[in-house]
Subunit: 166 residues, 2 copies
Amino acid sequence: MEFKESKEKFIQSWGVLGSSWGINRTMAQIHALLLISPEILSTEEIMSELQISRGNANMNIRALMDWGIVTKHFKTGERKDFFFADKDIWEIARKITKERSKREIEPVIRILNELKGVEGESAEIKQFKQTVGDLESFTSKLNSVVDKFVKSDEHWFYKNLLKIVK
Amino acid sequence: MEFKESKEKFIQSWGVLGSSWGINRTMAQIHALLLISPEILSTEEIMSELQISRGNANMNIRALMDWGIVTKHFKTGERKDFFFADKDIWEIARKITKERSKREIEPVIRILNELKGVEGESAEIKQFKQTVGDLESFTSKLNSVVDKFVKSDEHWFYKNLLKIVK
DNA sequence: CTGAACTTTCAGTAATTATTGAAAGTTAAT
DNA sequence: ATTAACTTTCAATAATTACTGAAAGTTCAG
């Protein structure tokens, strides 16, 4: 397969994966492009490579910087901003996991805890309490595992998680 | 807090969580409703409880059945279909994980493996190979952990995963 | 200061995704 | 074979989400 074709396919696939995980297609594509790029890229380059507008590029690059997986760089003598994606997959996974836990899991745990307090003895209320309790317990445990992962390094993962997989 | 209010809040929250994970809001809400319902519910009841149309209810209930987390039941003497959600959170998590792995992770691994074969020695191509290789390696490892989880029971999780969390 | 080079914002628009509701399809009792 | 009870489908429409591009904002060299 031609390199250009492979590159295209990689960027496309990453975009599709992103959108099935609630990350917008363009954001995932910009990340993919930066991931395979050995050099820092300017906004212009990203725009022309992905055929997107300046506004779109700008907003999605900013989002990637908010996630902490893309950084801004400068070239001496140039006024433009350039962007670079961290290439360490473990580090990327940790950062994404951390953000999603903070944005999505933690608020849910808070609500579930709040809802556990409902009063009553009817079958309906009993089932509600049971379900909410079970979900809270599950989600909290999940979050501890996630948290451990976030604070770990690749070595830890090998030593522990991969061991139990065998 | 009133039960009715709690119920409402639970269904709403579950809907929001669902949509940030690429599952549509209504599907998540129907699931939430069934999860806290001790009895099987008819399409009518789901429609009126969530204020949605028949078509919408039907399509999303079917999707939940495809995921294997909702089942169809009958009441003697009644012709209508009734629906019930499995209440075992571990079982639900396993089924969802299994489906998402199959639908999303496995196809990506296939594409990455395909892309690993690109030929060339330029810096650009070297970075491409490196990134694609790292992603493939990460994703495959992730998938083994996921697979182990899918095949596990709650007891396994306690014994192993929770142990390393401490 | 000034203005050129660049970045950000955001109202308008396009694209995508979800929902409705009525018609077509199915099933089973009579 | 008919029909009432029920389910499924799907074209039309609504709701949501993403994108564009031009205008406003910022920065900094001269």
